[in-house]
């Protein structure tokens, strides 16, 4: 047993906690807020892609509808921000039921196309319902309140929102390491066998989809609270795409890789926008393509392989879309 295997998990947790607490001190606080919200979305997408083998290209639907719900609840009722966010989470989970029910009827690339198309439908719907959503103008001046606390400074708001983010990340970890999560992995690796063992595959997939959507909704609601406005961009396909980019950069099926990737990517995007560089996706897209071509295990996978001294990854958790299955040179 190497030192890494014995203490690695606790060391990672400690480093993660310290990094999370230091984030708004090191970075411009609004960027820290964005990183926390996007990390939740990316982890939600990884929950499906890494552990059920389903690539959702439509998580903007849940992120955005939660952002709009949280924004509307906060603006119309003046509810404290956690209440508004929870309302958003509920709405995104509810929307995910019919979408998930329909989408799990297809797998693979079709699943990706179906989720992308349904998310675009929600986008058009929000654009048409401009009495509610404000259409192209979006929702402006969303209040962010908590009785007895002044949340106007993003720096302090970060620490008030951090427990919710930590809760979301903990739940994702808990789902993956629960018996339910083990069934999901079994379904990913061999759906026919899981079915023959008596697991209702579709129902498990729908449940995972709804949980993932709720997690994305948590991120979206917090995103609305941290920006204090909501635009149609939260529902646009580019948002879904960015989440997928984060997951792949971080490493599919690693959960925390997506969090690290969110931090690095948003910092890079912030830097590029400060440099007035007009084509950030030129760099991000190229990096992404490079990772897909060469480093399919992503940041987390590559680094943990190095730390494990190139021992094979946990045999209990192979990805259905197995990044290590074939070196690119073999083609």
């Amino acid at each position: 047993m190497t030192l890494y295997q014995r203490y690695g998990r606790w060391a990672i947790l400690l480093v993660g906690a310290v990094a999370a607490l230091a984030l708004p001190r090191v970075l411009y606080p609004p960027v820290a807020l964005d990183i926390a919200a996007w990390a939740l979305l990316a982890v939600a997408v990884d929950l499906l892609l890494g552990y059920v083998g389903l690539l959702s290209f439509g998580h903007a639907a849940f992120w955005g509808s939660s952002a709009y719900t949280a924004g509307l609840v906060a603006a119309k009722t003046g509810a404290p921000f956690p209440v508004a966010v929870v309302a958003g989470v509920i709405v995104s989970a509810v929307i995910a039921v019919p979408i998930g029910y329909l989408a799990v009827r297809r797998t693979g690339i079709y699943f990706a196309m179906v989720t992308l198309a349904f998310a675009q439908m929600i986008y058009f719907l929000a654009n048409q319902l401009d009495g509610l959503t404000g259409g192209d103008n979006g929702l402006q001046d969303v209040p962010r309140t908590l009785p007895g606390v002044d949340l106007s400074d993003p720096y302090y708001f970060y620490y008030w929102m951090a427990p919710l983010v930590a809760l979301g990340l903990f739940l994702a970890w808990r789902i993956v390491h629960s018996p339910f999560g083990r069934v999901l992995v079994a379904i990913r690796d061999n759906p026919t066998r899981a079915r023959s063992l008596g697991y209702p595959v579709h129902r498990y997939k729908i449940a995972a989809f709804v949980l993932s959507a709720a997690l994305a909704g948590l991120g979206g609601g917090l995103y609305a609270m941290s920006h204090q406005f909501v635009t149609l961009d939260t529902l646009r396909w580019t948002t879904s795409g960015q989440a997928v980019v984060l997951v792949v950069l971080g490493g599919i099926g690693t959960l925390w890789g997506a969090v690290v990737a969110a931090g690095l990517t948003l910092r890079l995007q912030d830097y590029l926008s400060l440099q007035h560089f007009a084509a950030p996706n030129l760099i991000l897209g190229a990096l992404f393509a490079l990772v897909v071509l060469v480093f399919r295990r992503g940041i987390w996978g590559t680094v943990s392989d190095l730390l494990r001294q190139r021992q094979p990854a946990d045999p209990a958790a192979p990805s259905r879309i197995d990044p290590a299955a074939m070196p690119p040179s073999a083609v």
Binding site: R106, V114, T192, R195, L293
Partner: protein, 291 residues
């Protein structure tokens, strides 16, 4: 009645774009098992190709119509050889992701150089004005687009169904291993077929340049609808994807004319939901293993 006729033709014009893109997606999918996310980006490059040809080289629309698809044919083949082929033996999702990354690069590269706003492209001389038959009046250019799209689809069908090359491609699509075992060099056709699909997207882009806003995101907006179209039609059938493309174009056009705006915008997606409920493998698709 005249209005209805005009709406139908309009729908066939829009459906022509769906059909050309869906056809390209279907032949590439058949040959490689890959869905090309970048298809919309190549459509956008086709439109910008026409724009560049006119403003930088002074080449007229007619030249663009011939040259741009040829250039994109070459670009597509290079793309397939250098990038897509590297992931050929992995789960096709990786190629979907790769082509998504390429989409981001192409969109932002074009947007960086030409700006995010629309680049103007005039109607070609000779195709301006409108054709009127009795009280039926219709823009000439749109009829031309419909004609070209129809011609392309019929030609592609003829090539696939009636020629020797088409026979090889169909065999390779249906049973790649058996086709190889019979001594057919399947790998030889993968790259040209990919290039052909990309060229078709480029041609659609040239056709779109004079009638739609030429913007870096024109392809992204279209490709998502085309994804819904191919989910409805099923990528397994080439004829099916073309028919679905034209059919949905017409249905959307009718909905735009006779139904509230919200119905028109959501129609394709609602139809997708219905097809997923009633026939998950798509109208013309093959049944997947029931899981």
């Amino acid at each position: 009645m005249i209005g209805f006729f005009e709406q139908t033709i309009n729908g066939l014009v829009n459906g022509g774009f769906y059909a050309m893109l869906a056809l390209g997606l279907a032949v590439i999918f058949g040959m490689l098992g890959v869905v090309n996310f970048a298809h919309g980006a190549f459509y956008m490059l086709g439109a910008y190709g026409a724009y560049i040809a006119l403003h930088a080289a002074g080449l007229s629309y007619w030249w663009s119509l011939a040259i741009v698809p040829l250039v994109l044919f070459a670009v597509g083949m290079i793309f397939e050889r250098t990038l897509v082929a590297r992931l050929a033996r992995l789960d096709p999702l990786y190629n979907f992701l790769l082509t998504f990354g390429v989409t981001l690069v192409l969109q932002d590269a074009v947007s960086w150089h030409f700006g995010p706003t629309a680049s103007p492209y005039k109607l070609p001389s000779g195709l301006t004005g409108a054709i009127s038959i009795g009280s039926f009046v219709f823009p000439t250019y749109r009829l031309f687009v419909f004609g070209v799209a129809l011609l392309c689809c019929v030609a592609a069908w003829w090539a696939l169904a009636r020629t020797r090359v088409g026979m090889v491609i169909r065999a390779a699509t249906e049973r790649p291993d058996l086709t190889k075992a019979l001594g057919v060099n399947v790998g030889r056709w993968v790259t040209p077929v990919f290039g052909f699909g990309i060229a078709l997207a480029g041609l659609a882009g040239v056709l779109a340049a004079p009638m739609q806003a030429v913007t870096p995101l024109m392809g992204a907006d279209l490709i998502i609808v085309v994804f819904a179209v191919v989910v409805i039609g099923g990528l397994g059938s080439i004829v099916g994807s073309v028919l679905t493309g034209f059919g949905l174009g017409v249905l959307s056009s009718w909905a735009q004319a006779y139904a509230p705006a919200i119905v028109a915008q959501l129609l394709v997606f609602v139809l997708m939901a219905v097809v997923l409920l009633a026939r998950p493998s798509g109208l013309f698709g093959h049944q997947e293993a029931a899981i």
